[in-house]
């Protein structure tokens, strides 16, 4: 332990700082780059716009980070989002009640999360199994969405303006959805840091065997994390349908990859005591800024995907360098 500390102290230099605060540095670089090369970047309107752009990815990333902390990986989020969106709008059109729509979406999301977690519990999965389980589950969720909608586009009833106002309204000039994101972020941060269940998630992620020996039922905590991720997908679905007013089975296509990139670029790592909502926020801001700046510079959407991939690879390299320098913190 002593030796380790000395090594970390010696390594406190520019490289060490860069590797540890990858997301933060990227944000600063992006802001500098954007203010030089993109017109209208440093305007209040643009930042307001940015705040509402990052909401859906932000909510998904919150769930993704929690799953990533317990050494899982939820590739089903995007398609679960589609399923929740379709169900929510159908229920909303049927009952004209926002609460029922929300509850139905949450039930579907939590159900898919529960299925992910339950399968993981049955096969006593470790980190790498959850990639495959959730990949298969995403196909099931996509099929469910197609069966539910019969492949059609569902429109929100035009008289449900109260539902659409969830996304349209604003509080003190900040859009409602951004407020939802911030409140949700603070709540999850509090739960992760200050409650027993949150701390146990970190233990399970760091070493699920040791946590099990210490009296924590690791399997159950992994399951809770997946259920929470499903709930986040449902919440994102509500925000998304409120904004667009329509839903189809391809609504959430590929959203999970953005959430994964944001989680990892922000610097989260399984069981890392410093990973959490702050780093998730860094990652989300980073990805939002990249999209914002590249949209302003008229960069093709496919090139944007390649750029995101390269940034993810650089972030992974930073993580591996960090690991080789000793210690997770």
């Amino acid at each position: 332990m002593q030796k380790n500390n000395v090594m970390i102290k010696k390594r406190f230099d520019v490289g060490w700082f860069a590797v540890n605060n990858f997301g933060l540095i990227l944000i600063v670089l992006m802001v500098v780059f954007g203010s030089i090369f993109a017109n209208n970047f440093l305007t209040i309107d643009n930042f307001r716009n940015l705040a509402s752009q990052i909401v859906i990815n932000g909510i998904l990333t919150i769930g993704f980070s929690v799953v990533y902390i317990i050494d899982g990986f939820d590739l089903s989020q995007g398609n679960v989002l589609s399923a929740c969106a379709c169900v929510a709008l159908t229920i909303l059109n049927g009952t004209h009640n926002i609460l029922w729509a929300f509850l139905a979406a949450a039930a579907i999301g939590i159900f898919f999360g529960f299925a992910n977690g339950m399968i993981g519990k049955v096969i006593k999965s470790d980190g790498s199994d959850s990639y495959l389980i959730t990949l298969a589950m995403s196909l099931v969720a996509l099929g469910f969405a197609y069966i539910w909608t019969k492949g059609l586009n569902i429109q929100c009833d035009s008289e449900m303006t109260s539902y659409r106002n969830i996304a349209r309204g604003n509080i003190l000039g900040i859009s409602n959805t951004a407020v939802i994101l911030v409140v949700f972020l603070v709540i999850v941060h509090f739960v992760l840091r200050k409650t027993a269940i949150g701390r146990k998630l970190y233990y399970v992620g760091a070493n699920k065997k040791a946590a099990f020996m210490g009296g924590i039922n690791s399997h159950n905590y992994r399951m809770y994390a997946f259920m929470f991720s499903g709930f986040c997908a449902a919440l994102a679905a509500i925000v998304m349908t409120a904004r667009t007013g329509s839903a189809n089975p391809m609504t959430g296509n590929n959203y999970e990859t953005d959430a994964a990139i944001a989680t990892i670029v922000g610097g989260n790592a399984p069981g890392d005591s410093k990973s959490g909502m702050l780093r998730a926020l860094f990652g989300v801001l980073c990805l939002g800024l990249i999209r914002n700046i590249m949209n302003m510079m008229n960069v093709d959407a496919n090139i944007q995907t390649v750029v995101k991939c390269i940034i993810l690879l650089v972030a992974l390299y930073a993580l591996s360098v960090k690991k080789s320098w000793g210690g997770k913190d």
Partner: protein, 312 residues
């Protein structure tokens, strides 16, 4: 007892025969030569991709990039073959897959990056790159020589199926009778032990990923023969379709198991199931759920027995 144990080795093949007999009895369309040709013909593209996946899995590398690599190879093939002919296009497509495979292998071994995440990052990026090459459109495959090769058949047996069989034999030969193949099993079974035995595990893995990517690329190129064009969505379901083939064929997610013969049987099973769903008119959207459920069952069956003894 001994006979039963011997027979159980061929349980996948026996399942194929029983399933075929069942469909032969209950569906008049199944027994036709056309259907036979169709099943064999559809085995080649994703069969090659599955072989590639298996090749990576033997050394313990889950190459999730294969779907995107199939797409990239097909797009490069389509674009190059338009002006330089199909041989040059084929080579360019395979070379593109090999380059990405080499990059993926080097990053996950020599640079010690998380192998899963590297393949997922490339899965996103390579497809984006392929779409960027196409600039949002599709490329039509009009090369007459290529289309002729893809549709050549001897009786009801397509030429491509024979090529597939030759590849299976070749891959099995490499895995079983060469020094490199044996070291692949050693690396997949237990990398640390293999390293202490003097095997250069990084080198073995990088070569495995390159071969795996090349096979996936070849598969992707021949998907275009059936579609007549290459677009950005090509091979989007390759992982979902190929993972069950590989795992049913005896490979394991942890590595160190599996051979090409088994993958051939797994490929046949999955194709028969697809044929069943089409012949018996299973609702098209329900087919997605069934495909996902099969993949889930395969994962559970593989992992449940492996982790049965341990508690956490």
């Amino acid at each position: 007892m001994k006979v039963i144990r011997e027979l159980l080795k061929y349980k996948i093949w026996m399942f194929c025969i029983l399933f075929s007999v069942y469909m032969y009895i209950f569906s008049p369309a199944f027994g036709t030569w056309n259907n036979f040709y169709g099943i064999l013909q559809s085995m080649f593209p994703y069969g090659m991709v599955a072989l590639g996946l298996m090749f990576g899995l033997v050394t313990g590398i889950n190459n999730l990039t294969i779907g995107s690599l199939a797409c990239l190879s097909a797009v490069v093939f389509g674009l190059v073959s338009q002006s330089y002919g199909c041989i040059a296009g084929f080579l360019a497509g395979v070379a593109a897959a090999a380059v990405i495979g080499a990059a993926s292998g080097v990053m996950s071994t020599y640079l010690k990056m998380d192998g899963w995440l590297v393949t997922i990052a490339l899965m996103i990026g390579v497809r984006g790159f392929a779409c960027a090459l196409l600039a949002g459109s599709t490329v039509r495959i009009t090369d007459s020589f290529f289309l002729k090769v893809a549709s050549t058949k001897f009786g009801p047996v397509p030429l491509l199926f024979l090529v597939f069989l030759v590849t299976v034999v070749l891959v099995d030969f490499i895995l079983k009778y060469t020094h490199y193949g044996r070291s692949m099993y050693a690396v997949g079974g237990n990398a640390e032990v293999a390293a202490s035995c003097g095997i250069n595990i990084n080198k073995v893995r990088v070569i495995a990923v390159i071969v795996s990517s090349v096979l996936a690329g070849i598969g992707g190129i021949f998907v275009t023969a059936r579609l007549g064009s290459a677009n950005g969505d090509l091979g989007a379901d390759a992982i979902m379709a190929c993972l069950p083939m590989v795992i049913i064929g005896g490979a394991a997610f942890t590595g160190g198991k599996g051979d090409a013969k088994g993958t051939l049987s797994g490929c046949l099973v999955m194709n028969l199931i697809t044929t069943y769903m089409n012949l018996f008119e299973v609702y098209i959207d329900a087919q997605k759920v069934i495909q996902g459920a099969i993949l889930l069952m395969v994962i559970i069956a593989d992992k449940y027995f492996e982790n049965k003894e341990i508690k956490v």
